[in-house]
Symmetry: C2
Subunit: 282 residues, 2 copies
């Protein structure tokens, strides 16, 4: 099933997702000129909605889009949840520049089913390849016009990286910088575990601040782990106690194979961290 | 006015551009996952249509999209032209992955009026700033998943660069590579003139092969100019006899100011090259 609601001054306007609602001139379509968030809804609750809406506002600011109407997004999120009749689902929040740069944004929330592959990945982990992203970690601060770290609709490269992974027999990607730093996945953050400390790279190097990564860190801290936000070297991945991808819908996904090499078994650490993450919502 | 026609097995289906025709799940919208071309239609003729369709096919291949139906694009182009009642116009050809990665692409042609600012830029030239694109010239060949040189719908960065230019009091941008090479504009190619030779950087460094740049080179060669496709250094721009941006709708646009510095007057060279370009269609 799918549930679609457009933002308005009330609870949102429900629309049939099988019908067309977008004009061809929408700059979200013509230029990938818009932003989005993907939120996990479980047990009727939009997980990390506050950080997701904060990140939506951050992306809007980076793209110089009108500030998202926070209360309207909260209302429309509730409307989609109230009209969803199945279990856990993925909620997309989409905000484009609309058809006229000086006019009204296009804004809607779309609830969609979770792909069965996601449940398999949560359970079994994934094979990942590292791919060169061709940028240095200082670029984001030096060249804000490159929108590094904004969650824009211009995701064609992220999709192409996924196809390159498939060609190499893997399910996902870890992007690396020209200096050998770990950046992020095309739709995830990278977390490594070493000696009961979790590490993830800092957003300042041009990556998205992770909503799920932050939730995992909160849960892990409660469970006695230390956490550090600091640069991670690609060369250090293979020797970590565990390498994970975090994303809203896939939650914490274990990387079992990196660039074709089997990593040390991190199933036990994964089970512990996955439980710590879930404890945040208990 | 605007004329919109969707691709089909016949001459194309005319649609009202003020109505919505795109579903929210179209991957062109959700992921900027599609490609486009912008063609100048003048005197009822779609200029450089063959190179534009070749480049559309090249972009499709880079994004692993289904090969565009060349004859259908030619028919739908004709239909838009036949239904256009004004003068010169811009024709957008848009091809997205559609709503289902394994399903039918979304494909349409949209004729739109040319912005009055374009006519002013053709006549008066523009102020341009150089902006760091953060990549090295070898990256495109090394990392094809970055889609450098594909004309994808993921153009949010190109739009952001335009806003940065405006902040700096300029109308357009020349992107530079980390080694100081000239790349391209966000929606144009860069051509410089020196001693009656035209230079433009090679597509292999990760830029679009220019349809208008090629037409200018053909016209200039007929008029006795030499042409060279070879790397151009940003440091050499200021000392050239002329710096130009080429794009379908803006044709050959003279750069009169670079990073706030007035360039040597290239009006006479511009007039000569603009005439050489027009002679291609005489």
């Amino acid at each position: 099933m799918r549930v679609l609601a457009f933002l308005d001054d009330t609870a949102g306007t429900l629309r049939d997702p099988d019908e067309p609602h977008i004009r061809v001139e929408d700059l979200g379509l013509m230029r990938g000129d818009g932003i989005f968030e993907t939120v996990l809804v479980a047990d009727g609750e939009a997980r990390e909605l506050r950080p997701h809406l904060d990140r939506l506002a951050r992306s809007a600011s980076m793209l110089e889009l009108p500030e998202p109407d926070d209360e309207a997004w909260q209302r429309v999120t509730r409307t989609v949840i109230d009209n969803w009749t199945g279990g856990e689902f993925a909620l997309k929040l989409v905000h484009t520049r609309g058809t006229d740069p000086d006019g009204e944004p296009t804004a809607f929330a779309l609830g969609i089913e979770i792909d069965p592959k996601v449940f398999a990945a949560r359970r079994d982990g994934v094979a990942v390849v590292t791919l060169d992203r061709g940028i240095d970690p200082g670029l984001a601060e030096r060249a804000p016009w490159l929108l590094l770290g904004a969650k824009s609709l211009s995701y064609a490269v992220n999709m192409a990286a996924g196809r390159e992974a498939a060609r190499r027999g893997a399910a996902d990607v870890i992007f690396t910088a020209t200096d050998g730093s770990v950046l992020e996945g095309p739709t995830s953050n990278v977390i490594i575990a070493r000696d009961r400390t979790l590490y993830t790279p800092p957003p300042a190097i041009g990556i998205l601040p992770g909503t799920t990564q932050a939730a995992v860190f909160r849960g892990a801290e409660r469970a006695g782990w230390s956490t550090k936000i600091e640069p991670v070297r690609a060369a250090d991945l293979a020797s970590a106690d565990g390498v994970f991808l975090s994303s809203s819908v896939r939650k914490l996904t274990r990387v079992h194979t990196l660039d074709g090499e089997t990593l040390p078994d991190s199933s036990a650490i994964h089970a512990e961290l996955a439980a710590a993450y879930e404890s945040v919502y208990a």
